[in-house]
């Protein structure tokens, strides 16, 4: 069962038997802590009988569709009022983004645009203005959707997340965070508090592209992000990541390694893109077939690398 922020044993897994166009919200107790301390107290009080949310842009649809079901009496913990989690902190080498930072905050932040432009690019193509105004970075990651558009940029940026529990805070690379569709390493009692992103440096460049059946407000059929670091005319290191091609957002190691030490000429880029597509085994679902996903993944990687090169010149 998918989870927003861990802690969901109140969620029952009985299958939806009846077709009901829109389902009732569960009876719940609404908690809106304003400090981390209050949050951790609430978590320790309610333990696993609580559900943590921020923007609610996935929580409510999940209930309406019957994807998530909760027993009455659910303790909802809304972390959006915790100021410490609503900030984008511009540290020396990293951006420290609170889990409650909205997608609009990301999109309109000059700091993010300067230090992690690939994230800005991705967020620009996500959801609608209304949803971006409430949906949060933390929520997008914790939903652990394979199609989460913030994930590929974070993967290529070597970002990590901070996870808080009663024992303290630990940091986990984003690449290790997702464990399956709707599943992450978060366990009951844990909260994702921050996302830390190394800033882009000189000679580095990153790009994001996605494809959907429609242009706007669309869940990706495939999304791709690429980050390269150049050393003269050669690519020193590369990161390539995809969304919607595997149970989790993924990086493609062989294709990344292939680029290292090579000049980014057409032939190399094409080979790399082909390798990247070979490394993934997407599925066929409602949005697209596996064949199309592989096919278009190759094109997206190619174009992302070209975007990177263009940005560098």
């Amino acid at each position: 069962m998918p989870d927003t922020y861990g802690n969901n044993t109140m969620m029952t897994t009985r299958p939806a038997n009846n077709f009901i166009g829109s389902r009732a919200m569960p009876e719940l107790v609404y908690n809106a802590p304003e400090t981390m301390q209050d949050l951790m107290d609430l978590i320790s009080t309610h333990g696993p009988f609580a559900k943590i949310v921020a923007g609610c842009t996935d929580f409510i649809p999940s209930i309406r569709t019957g994807r998530w079901r909760f027993d009455p009496g659910l303790n909802l913990i809304d972390i959006s009022k915790i100021k410490a989690l609503n900030r984008i902190e511009n540290k020396e080498d990293i951006l420290k983004i609170g889990a409650g930072v909205t997608l609009t905050q990301i999109l309109t932040s000059p700091v993010v645009r300067a230090s992690c432009p690939v994230l800005t690019q991705a967020v620009e193509q996500m959801a609608s203005l209304q949803v971006r105004n409430t949906a949060t970075m933390g929520g997008n990651l914790c939903m652990a959707s394979p199609a989460a558009d913030t994930a590929p940029p974070l993967l290529v940026s070597d970002a990590w997340v901070l996870i808080q529990d009663a024992q303290g805070s630990t940091s986990v690379p984003v690449v290790d965070f997702f464990t399956g569709p709707g599943q992450s390493i978060l366990t009951p009692g844990q909260v994702l508090t921050h996302i830390c992103i190394p800033k882009i440096k000189a000679k580095e460049s990153a790009g994001f592209r996605k494809i959907g059946t429609r242009t706007a407000v669309i869940i990706s059929i495939v999304s791709a992000a690429v980050k390269i670091r150049m050393d003269g005319d050669l690519c020193e290191t590369a990161r390539i990541a995809f969304g919607s091609v595997a149970p989790t957002p993924v990086r493609v190691a062989a294709a990344e390694q292939f680029l290292a030490g090579k000049p980014l000429e057409k032939r190399v880029i094409e080979k790399c893109a082909g390798m990247a597509a070979d490394e993934i085994s997407p599925i066929t679902d409602l949005r697209a077939s596996a064949v199309y996903r592989k096919d278009v993944a190759e094109t997206l990687v190619k174009r992302c690398i070209m975007d990177c090169l263009e940005a560098l010149t």
Binding site: S22, M25, P26, E27, L28, V29, Y30, A32, G55, C56, T57, I60, P61, R64, T65, L76, D78, S80, K81, T104, A127, S128, L129, Q130, V131, N133, T134, A216, V217
Partner: protein, 162 residues
């Protein structure tokens, strides 16, 4: 168990007794009688229930009412002054940026925020279209809506605005 909820609704401090599971959409429609806030998909896809929450457009179907404690919420009723249509509303009427009228109130709120935030920058066709991407309309093909927003911004730049 009902809880009291106090927030600024259309410039007026308002208190309702709500159920904690209620969405802002339900509270605005049922307790607040703001029936311009239209309900359709209830999943944040159509934009018909768009209202301004602290001056930002949000889908009120995706906001828990309990979370707007102390906030400011504006519906399209809040644009009306002494029974007079807001210049933005007038633009939508004049340019016929309305057909069935169901998406209109949400569209108005999004457009209002867009024009407010734009300041003196003249809004282009592309910028308006991008901003309105979350407000689905099945009748107008959006063309007269975009035109309405442009005309409305002209009114604002000419000082006819509130």
């Amino acid at each position: 168990m009902k809880i009291p909820l106090t927030f600024v609704l259309n410039h007026q401090k308002t208190t309702f007794e709500i159920d904690p599971w209620q969405t802002l959409l339900e509270v605005l429609r049922n307790q607040g009688r703001k029936t311009s806030v239209h309900r359709s998909c209830e999943e944040g896809e159509c934009g018909a229930c768009t209202v301004l929450l602290n001056n930002k457009p949000v889908n009120s179907c995706l906001v828990l009412a309990a979370s707007v404690q102390g906030a400011s919420v504006m519906t399209s009723e809040g644009l009306v002054k002494n029974g007079r249509p807001h210049p933005l509303m007038k633009a939508f009427t004049d340019e016929l940026g309305i057909q069935c009228g169901f998406c209109t109130p949400g569209m108005l709120m999004n457009a209002y925020a867009l024009i407010q935030d734009a300041g003196d920058t003249v809004l282009t066709d592309a910028v308006i279209r991008k901003a309105l991407e979350g407000n689905l309309c099945r009748c107008t093909g959006y063309i007269n809506i975009v035109k309405s927003v442009m005309v409305a911004q002209k009114s604002k730049l000419a000082g006819e605005w509130w």
